[in-house]
Subunit: 474 residues, 2 copies
């Protein structure tokens, strides 16, 4: 295992060079977060489809349990049980615009993961970095359990567990546990745990801070890289359900009626009595139990949906958890939100509502969210909505406002429209509106014929845990 | 599937250019031998170990169900349920000698399969071609069901089902069903079915021809590429046993006590009550049922061993089938031999005996083969041994002889010693004499830590059935 040990040291040194002076030493986290033998036990897999151009290159790395789709390069990295989904990467010839300046892509975009350590991390979408639009760059980055790197360049970045960086460009930043950041260009910034920060320069800024002590209850990382808290307790309950799925070369879903145009990944779990309507997408590592997934809805990677109803065109972004919840049509649940009802305290969300990324609704009584709402922050009872829920039309008309732990500055209309457009775009990309024409095909349709290739590391000697160099192209 | 169709046409044209004028049109065979959907259904897999240098390159090919170990390149080929085992390839710096001329290997040897169609073919050992010792070349070759390409350069060669080419160099040759050829440099030669031909220029020539009609009963290929006969009927009985083995990512053998230093491939089948002694090797696609495999014995690829005893240091070469047979110590069973006893008509083979490659012993009565014998050809009853069995010392002293359908010319001693040395070499290579020291490690020990990487083709569109280009190195 000498080579794997050397790799851990290498990654730690490349990250510490910038982040240690900022107060973070990643070395003990990397050394202890995952027992070494697990880096040998799990396979990596990449998907082939006729719709996604492929180009994989893996060098000097460990890829345990990780899923790849689309063009990706991994060099000198540990990628553990992550999803690197390059199915929305930009293509050669695409024109990108930033600050009014247009440029054309010279090559297809490639996700490049270099000197990095990703644990159960979701990497998706395309880079919003205008300088090198051909590269979705993840360099010298440590991303902990269930973090999301979504269209963000990360150079010298640490992401705490259950955190998300979204459509940004980050250099030498520390993102605390369960924080969400979508804030353009950031350099040498430390974001404390439990912040939800969305900022578009010259337009608006949304900033919510979790009350002290709350985040710790849900997620906490000790100095040995061990994660605890309600989030991890919840997902760990369902671990065993994935074992048979990952033990079989071609896992097949038997006796499940799914609607036309839908895709249920063979690497997801569907348990109990479920209904999957047409044009729905259930991604790998999603877990659905006793739920109704209506037309055009999607459950993205690391979603847990249980005892819930999705009426249709519902988005659950990466890592969203939805339990004992009735979602009206077009309800959106953002990244890593935890919408946790119970049988006696169910949650109802009216149509067209938006559950912001990184929201916790942990119902201690039945909770009803009106239609056309934005909801955010920490909610356990109906009265919490007073400061953490707002009608979207009202928010659209707002400019500066302070409500509970939220401060909002700037153009409410731009904020709401931006969200609405993005949700619409997600539905389109996922194939929610598929009508048999090529123009309306999305991920649900394009992934139908995927075949999965299973890669395993050396098991013995100094190479144990390392993968051979692999180059895979069309 | 357009690309796969084009590939079939391409391979047919490259082979027909030389073999059609010799009377063989491979096109209808290639078109019909394997239903197209099977080329999509099975995965290929390659093994990583710490002992075998790897370098795989796969381009423009279909690799259904095929196993790779060691350095291999496959280009514009269909390789269906074959074993390409590059674990005895020569290494950079090795010195080879041919006709008294020595040369040093400039690179590690690589198996190169180009413009070829291999069905359930075993490729093993290293090329005996002195011109390019760095390349084990299989070019413009069609090799049908359960054929063996063993250390032989094949350029423009057709191998019928259950045939073997061994340590030769062949240009534009046709090898009939169940023929065995080990005859140095051959060009534009047609070998009719059922010949066993071993020739060393200037030393000896062994030539046995099966009686008319016999081979047809055991193996027959029609013009549509369909194989029938007792051999295929026998192996088809056990097909289902391999399904669970090939359905699991990490097939594991439970509750089987195996001797120290032994290796039982997770891709073999061990059924009923079996005992595996120390330093034994059970290769992938071997099938063992209710048998005792003694110390240092091996069952190579495509072996079927049932209701039999191996006392120790027994070799069963690729494709050997041994049923209701008691083998004394150091008995050798050659390539594709069919040693078929029954409960009421068992076979006993005395110690140190050699069952020549491509021997059929199909017992209609109990048969006892004395120790220290060579046995060959077609045997159904004890009296058949009179013309098809000979004491090895006696054979050693023979020069020219004719016995039944056998003609032997030349130096009997060289023939017997050559065989003995080769058997000894096989035992050493397989690790039969492993005593804990590095020098005595063989395949059984070197493959212990193998991990298997599973590759699948595109499932849809014009690429369906094709594999992406892959380069895999250390």
């Amino acid at each position: 295992m000498e080579k794997l040990e050397t790799l851990f040291e290498h990654i730690a040194s490349r990250i510490n060079v910038n982040l240690k002076p900022m107060g973070l030493d990643v070395r003990p986290i990397l050394q202890n977060a995952i027992p070494r033998e697990r880096h040998l036990a799990y396979y990596a897999f990449y998907a082939l489809t006729e719709d996604h151009p492929i180009s994989f290159k893996f060098t000097n790395s460990n890829l345990a349990g990780t899923y790849f789709l689309g063009k990706t390069l991994v060099d000198r990295s540990v990628v553990y049980k992550s999803n690197l989904r390059g199915d929305e990467l930009k293509r050669k010839g695409d024109v990108v615009e930033f600050n009014g300046v247009k440029t054309t892509l010279f090559y297809d975009e490639v996700i490049r993961v270099i000197n990095s350590y990703l644990v159960k991390t979701l990497v998706h979408n395309h880079s919003k970095n205008p300088e090198i639009p051909e590269v979705f760059k993840i360099l010298n980055t440590v991303a902990m359990h269930y973090s999301n790197i979504h269209g963000t360049t990360t150079e010298g970045v640490y992401l705490g567990p259950f955190s998300t960086v979204d459509f940004s460009v980050m250099h030498n930043c520390i993102v605390g546990d369960f924080s969400y950041v979508q804030a353009g260009d950031l350099s040498r910034v430390v974001i404390e745990p439990g912040h939800v920060w969305i900022k578009v320069n010259g337009s608006f800024e949304f900033h919510y801070v979790y009350p002290e002590g709350v985040v710790d209850e849900y997620v906490s990382l000790d100095e040995h890289g061990h994660v605890s808290g309600k989030f991890i307790e919840y997902v760990d309950e369902f671990k065993e359900d994935f074992v048979p799925v990952y033990s079989t070369v071609k896992p097949e879903r038997l006796e499940l009626a799914i609607g036309d145009g839908s895709y249920v990944s063979p690497y997801s779990v569907i348990k109990g009595a479920c209904t999957i309507g047409p044009n729905a997408l259930i991604a790998q590592r999603a877990h659905i139990e006793d739920s109704v997934i209506g037309e055009g809805s999607n459950a993205q990677e690391n979603c847990y949906i249980k005892d819930s109803v999705y009426e249709g065109f519902n988005v659950t972004a990466h890592g969203g958890k939805v339990i004992h919840t009735h979602n009206g049509k077009n309800v959106f649940v953002g990244f890593n939100s935890f919408v946790h009802g119970t049988e006696s305290c169910p949650i109802t969300i009216g149509k067209n509502s938006i559950v912001m990324p990184h929201t916790i609704i942990d119902a201690a009584e039945p909770i009803e969210i009106p239609e056309n709402s934005a909801v955010w922050g920490y909610i356990t009872k109906q009265s919490d909505l007073e400061t953490q829920c707002m009608d979207l039309d009202e928010l659209s008309n707002a400019s500066d406002l302070t409500l509970g732990n939220l401060t909002f500055k700037g153009d409410g209309k731009a904020f709401v429209e931006g969200f609405r457009n993005r949700i619409e775009h997600i539905l389109e990309e996922n194939g929610a509106y598929y009508d048999g024409t090529d123009d309306t095909r999305g991920h649900a349709q394009k992934t139908q014929d995927a075949s999965f290739n299973i890669l395993q590391p050396f098991q013995g000697g100094k190479d144990a845990g390392m993968y051979p160099t692999m180059t895979i192209g069309e």
